[in-house]
């Protein structure tokens, strides 16, 4: 008979869940150079990331956080806060959920979305830093493009659906209702579906 593992996820995830690094103590964020918050409590996940920046080198020197969420959410923000220290703002901006998941020793598919908010909040904090320092031109908006005009579904919605488990066009439709009216966006949506599957899951 098989025995249960000691733990539901990877050992690295366990370590970061048991001993989270760089938790923001209290709620005062004044001493930080950038503050970003993503997600909401109703959906069960919310993350706040605060950063200190070496302004000459544009390098992140400190990163702290608060997270409301499950074990994967807590551990992914913890490991993200370790990963970004010493990186330039530009490097940090491009950290992907996949990198975070890999650093954690892998996440089950249905938990990938828990790690997405962390890097979103980090990007918000970096943009916040640019805005505060009169560098609005550097603020990178997360631009989205409407793919399905009828149901107003964007490429971001498609990416979220993939992260939440959609693997086929039918599953994508189930989650987003995309292409359920005129159906003209099917080809474009299928290309994006494959792209995001490849980016996030390597399939």
């Amino acid at each position: 008979m098989l025995q249960a593992g000691e733990w539901a996820y990877s050992e690295t995830l366990k370590e970061h869940f048991m001993n989270p690094k760089n938790i923001l103590q209290g709620e005062n964020t004044d001493e930080f150079d950038g503050v970003g918050m993503e997600g909401n409590l109703q959906c069960g996940d919310q993350m706040m990331v605060v950063i200190k920046v070496d302004k000459e080198k544009e390098v992140i020197t400190d990163c702290q956080w608060k997270t409301y969420g499950c074990a994967s959410a807590i551990a992914s923000t913890s490991i993200l806060s370790e990963m970004v220290k010493g990186r330039t703002l530009d490097q940090a901006f491009h950290i992907s959920p996949k990198e975070v998941a890999q650093a954690l020793g892998g996440l089950p598919d249905h938990k990938i979305h828990c790690s997405v908010l962390g890097d979103k909040a980090l990007r918000a904090a970096i943009n916040n830093y640019y805005t505060r320092n009169g560098q609005e031109d550097k603020v990178k908006q997360e631009q989205s493009k409407v793919i399905c005009q009828c149901m107003s579904i964007t490429d971001h919605d498609i990416e979220d659906a993939v992260l939440e488990g959609a693997r086929t066009y039918f599953e994508l439709q189930e989650r987003t209702k995309l292409g359920t009216v005129c159906g003209q966006c099917k080809d474009e949506a299928e290309v994006l579906l494959e792209k995001f599957k490849h980016i996030h899951f390597g399939v």
């Binding site: 733990w7 539901a8 869940f17 048991m18 989270p20 938790i23 103590q25 709620e27 918050m37 909401n40 409590l41 109703q42 959906c43 069960g44 996940d45 919310q46 993350m47 706040m48 956080w65 608060k66 997270t67 409301y68 969420g69 499950c70 074990a71 959410a73 807590i74 598919d109 249905h110 938990k111 979305h113 828990c114 939440e164 488990g165």
Partner: protein, 401 residues
């Protein structure tokens, strides 16, 4: 490693009762098919019918009114699907009644089957519940009518433990000419259940919730009530459920109800006392909490608590590391992030529902275990709140600024 192992998830499933285990092990060699006429078959048949008598006695039914099935879910599917059949060809006379009534807090096996029936032309009406999870009888009275063929309402809720007044409901249902089903999976073996007193037409039982084996349940079908099998093609269970009987499982179910009959009466007071201690202990040591479920009309074993500003899975996993097994109302594990439909139906907001934990005790639960939990829990909640964006002492939320 944790100091102690505490299993407070008895509404999910229970360990085998030692007497059930003993009896099942002793019966391992029994392999005959109850349908065979030879000695092997007769031995299996005798044991299946012996178990049927025990189950029937336990709920005040006759033996012929008990159909053994593969699970509580199968029993519930059978009753609801039977109704579709009843509304068309197999059961003449009930064709005109094409609606069913159920509640918003049923087990998914009832809700999803109801939804499926909706696709097949049945009109499904869903009853609301109040803040304690009680069905609104006035609303039921308004919904009942010539069009309603079946009402399905669970007796005790698995998540919050609230117990419905099935006896009164069944009276109303019968006065309107409909049939009454109750999913009593969480009630049978925990509170007295007598099908005649309740006046129900169908009642669902599961073995593994009452220290019996998994993969076996029973459906009570009142004599004379229209019936159509879900699994067809065999004479087993008087043609009501095809498939060779799960002899070992059925024998285990029989022993499980026999043991329940002996142990249940004294157990309720003991569990109520433990629940009281647990509730009081949580109240005294942790701020900003909300108890879910009915304060009195509820299972003695079940306590459901929402903790502001903490997500349920985090609590569950920290408790797991301390050796304590509980369950969460939030379905983050399923990837959907949907909070419990039961808590939402009682009016708890989505955020609180995400931070809900169900403690469900059982026959082996002890004062020592409750004390251990109370020793560990406040620290865990404080720790999670310290890292949460949501929680700031006094109930303010960082997000709202």
């Amino acid at each position: 490693m944790a100091d102690m192992k505490v299993y407070f998830d008895n509404n999910a499933t229970t360990p085998l009762h030692p007497e059930v285990k003993k009896e099942m092990i002793a019966a391992m060699e029994m392999f005959g098919n109850p349908s065979s006429m030879h000695s092997y078959g007769r031995e299996a048949r005798a044991n299946v019918e012996n178990a049927r008598r025990k189950v029937a006695d336990f709920i005040g039914a006759t033996e012929k009114e008990i159909v053994f099935v593969g699970s509580g879910s199968e029993a519930n599917n059978t009753v609801l699907s039977l109704f579709v059949c009843g509304s068309s060809q197999c059961i003449p006379g009930s064709k005109m009644r094409s609606s069913i009534i159920t509640t918003k807090i049923e087990h998914p096996c009832v809700l999803e089957t109801s939804e499926c029936l909706g696709h097949r032309g049945v009109r499904v009406k869903y009853l609301d519940v109040d803040q304690y999870g009680k069905v609104d009888l006035d609303q039921l009275a308004g919904m009942l009518g010539d069009d309603v063929g079946l009402v399905s309402i669970m007796m005790a809720n698995n998540e919050i433990g609230t117990i419905q007044d099935i006896e009164s409901i069944a009276k109303m249902v019968h006065e309107s000419g409909a049939l009454m089903h109750t999913d009593a999976v969480q009630a049978v073996g925990k509170v007295p259940v007598d099908v005649r007193k309740l006046g129900v037409d169908f009642l669902t039982i599961s073995a593994h919730k009452i220290y019996g084996p998994k993969g076996v349940g029973a459906l009570f079908v009142k004599k004379g009530v229209p019936y159509c099998p879900l699994i067809r093609g065999g004479h087993q269970e008087l043609g009501r459920r095809a498939g060779t009987e799960n002899t070992l499982g059925i024998l285990g179910l029989g022993k499980a109800v026999e043991m329940r009959a002996l142990e249940m009466p004294e157990e309720e007071d003991r569990l109520l006392e433990l629940k009281h201690i647990l509730r009081k202990g949580i109240e005294e040591s942790i701020d900003d909490i909300h108890f879910n479920g009915h304060p009195t009309d509820a299972l003695a074993s079940t306590l459901n608590v929402s903790f502001t500003g903490v997500e349920g899975e985090a609590i569950l996993l920290y408790l797991d590391i301390e050796g304590i097994a509980v369950s969460t109302g939030s379905a983050c594990a399923s990837g959907s992030l949907d909070p419990s439909h039961v808590l939402l139906a009682t009016g708890v907001d989505a955020e609180l529902a995400h931070g809900s934990i169900r403690f469900s005790m059982g026959r082996e639960s002890s004062r020592q275990e409750v004390d251990y939990l109370l020793n560990v829990l406040p620290g865990i909640i404080e720790r999670i709140r310290n890292m949460s964006t949501a929680y700031i002492k006094g109930g303010l939320h960082a997000a709202s600024r």
